[in-house]
């Protein structure tokens, strides 16, 4: 206690009041910076991926990325620009086609370079995303939610034609397949 400063106590809130100004000032500055940071946000993809897609994608099992579906239980994929379609040979006479992006965090499920391929269980007829373990059924519906939030609603599914004899097929990415021609769905 110095002689020129009287020993006057204002209670424990004295320091709190003084510090609160600094605290509120800092908080206000931080809050004001959010719109600025928001304005600096961006999301781009490589120009080569920003191409229109065609209504259909033709394929055959002689293609490297499709070859695996020559066998029942095999998983392959076809792509048109940024759109990649996961193909699953789930039965002798049936082929499934899904958008290859897991809807949970838009991560790639196709067995492609730069991706952790999802696992198809032929016996259970389920697809397990390798990233956060979401489990989908053959209809694309969710059987188990991913193990971190948020929940997802299901895979985007496409009609597909497939001739098991010739190994040729077509995925209809912008609409339904013609009647009576679809392998599945």
């Amino acid at each position: 206690m110095s002689e020129d400063k009287p020993d006057v106590h204002f209670g424990p809130c004295t320091h709190f009041i003084l510090s609160r100004r600094k605290f509120l000032g800092g908080t206000a500055t931080a809050l004001a910076s959010i719109p600025l940071a928001s304005a600096c946000e961006f999301a781009n993809v490589d120009d080569s991926l920003l191409q229109p897609v065609n209504p259909t994608i033709a394929f055959n099992t002689s293609m490297e990325t499709v070859a695996a579906i020559a066998d029942v239980g095999g998983v392959g994929y076809v792509e048109d620009g940024a759109l990649r379609v996961l193909l699953i040979r789930n039965a002798e006479d049936s082929l499934l086609a899904f958008n290859s992006k897991c809807p949970h965090q838009d991560l790639e499920m196709a067995p492609a370079p730069g991706a952790a391929a999802a696992t198809w269980d032929q016996n259970a007829q389920t697809l397990r995303c390798a990233y956060h373990q979401a489990l989908y059924g053959a209809d694309g519906g969710v059987i188990e939610q991913p193990n971190i939030p948020p929940d997802v609603t299901g895979l985007e599914r496409y009609d597909v034609e497939f001739d098991a004899m010739t190994g040729e097929g077509t995925v209809f990415v912008l609409g339904d397949a013609p009647e009576d021609n679809t392998s599945e769905g």
Binding site: F23, A37, L50, A82, A116, Q133
Partner: protein
């Protein structure tokens, strides 16, 4: 230009590793927030129950943070909280602690969506708030020479009844170890289920160091990765520490995901050496570390090299390089480099900036991911950290810039 320089650094540091590993037997130090080790000038084990740093805090680690905040509890009239002496029971025999983190961020990546006519448009991922970590710790000083440590990392569905629910392959939902040190001059022997002393331990699992640019968002060494084994750490002097150890690499094999490269029943070995010279002047104290680790299991090999320079209570600069390969049979190599600068404005306000590059050569293809992160560690009150950041991530296919906020409660 980069490759000759990296080869030189690798050669020098590998020599240091070999010299250190053969000169003594020992265990490890890694850092939950390596910046703190440099700006405080103490080894991680001074503040953490775990000798490798991170996790539960010692009485010193706890008390050094218990009064660090823009506003301390005594100024809010909470003198009882402010005057707590330690984080333990039984005169400090049992130490407890916890970390809880929430993150607000855009998870995922920009995608291309197509309208009915097949025309593309870019869609950014939604911003979400997710729980990142709910992890209690306990440490028991059983005797003068035996310390027990345990932690449990709750998963996303733990509270829904799924007790052990790791998010990433190789991740462990618990760690437990017995640390044996007959006296302070003797090596520390650590036995149990824990993370090997790989390089530097960071608390930000989005760092690219232990990732693979060809498999984004799927770290090879996941946060809370642990395997069962033993390590011995020896620190004959304050500026030198070395570690060797062996593990049953079951969880590492799960993360690798290819039994041809690493069988789940294979052993792994860890070697680590770290020099920590410190220079004390009249006005400044400069701290530093220089080290390297080698983690080897089956055909998988992970090398880590790190350099840190700090000014006591002012700031630090760290450079870290991590390289991995999967044997000559497999054309799959990674090289990840990170530089991080931290400036301590106040004890409760630290500014950080880091740049990272992850490169993977895989089957003739090269994958590159770059990251720039600018942010702050702000402690408004003790036991609470707010970490606002602006992050730019660029891969071969996309780029995204966003602000994120992490809320970290700790004790």
């Amino acid at each position: 230009m980069m490759k000759p320089m990296m080869m030189l650094i690798r050669t020098l540091l590998l020599c240091a590793l070999l010299v250190g590993a053969t000169s003594a037997l020992s265990s490890s130090t890694a850092h939950a927030v390596p910046r703190m080790s440099l700006t405080a000038g103490t080894p991680c084990s001074a503040c953490h129950l775990n000798v490798t740093g991170g996790g539960g805090r010692t009485e010193l680690g706890w008390s050094s943070m218990s009064k660090s905040g823009a506003i301390t509890y005594d100024k809010m009239g909470l003198g009882a909280v402010h005057n707590m002496h330690h984080n333990g029971f039984g005169k400090g025999t049992v130490q407890i602690g916890a970390d809880v983190r929430l993150q607000v961020a855009k998870l995922g990546q920009p995608t291309v969506e197509f309208d009915d006519q097949g025309q593309p448009s870019v869609v950014a991922p939604d911003r979400r708030m997710i729980p990142m970590q709910v992890q209690p710790y306990i440490g028991v000083y059983a005797t003068d020479w035996l310390k027990l440590y345990g932690t449990f990392a709750a998963g996303p569905s733990t509270f829904a009844g799924n007790l052990c629910d790791p998010t990433y392959a190789g991740q462990s939902c618990f760690a437990a170890s017995a640390n044996i040190q007959p006296d302070y001059s003797a090596p520390i022997i650590k036995v149990g289920h824990f993370r090997p002393a790989i390089g530097i331990r960071h608390d930000d699992h989005t760092m690219l160091g232990l990732s693979d640019a060809s498999q984004p968002r799927r770290p090879t060494i996941a946060p809370n990765y642990a395997d069962t084994g033993a390590e011995m750490t020896y620190s004959p002097t304050f500026w030198f520490q070395t570690t060797i150890g062996g593990f049953w690499a079951r969880n590492l094999a799960e993360a690798i995901g290819d039994e041809a490269i690493l069988d789940p029943n294979s052993p792994s070995v860890i070697g680590r050496v770290m020099f920590q010279p410190r220079f004390e002047g009249d006005k400044l104290t400069v701290t530093s570390w220089l080290g390297s680790s080698l983690y080897w299991a089956g055909r998988y090999r992970l090398e880590n090299y790190f350099v840190g320079l700090g000014i006591l209570d002012r700031g630090s600069l760290m450079i870290e390089a991590t390289r991995s390969d999967r044997g000559q049979e497999e054309d799959w190599n990674t090289l990840n480099i990170m530089t991080m600068l931290s400036v301590q404005l106040r004890e409760w306000l630290i500014l950080n900036g880091r740049v990272e590059r992850a490169t993977t050569d895989k089957a003739g293809d090269e994958f590159v991911t770059d990251a720039l992160v600018l942010g702050a560690e702000f402690f408004p009150v003790p036991y609470l950290e707010l970490r606002p950041e602006y992050r730019i991530l660029r891969t071969d296919d996309y780029s995204i810039g966003q602000y994120t906020i992490q809320v970290h409660l700790f004790f």
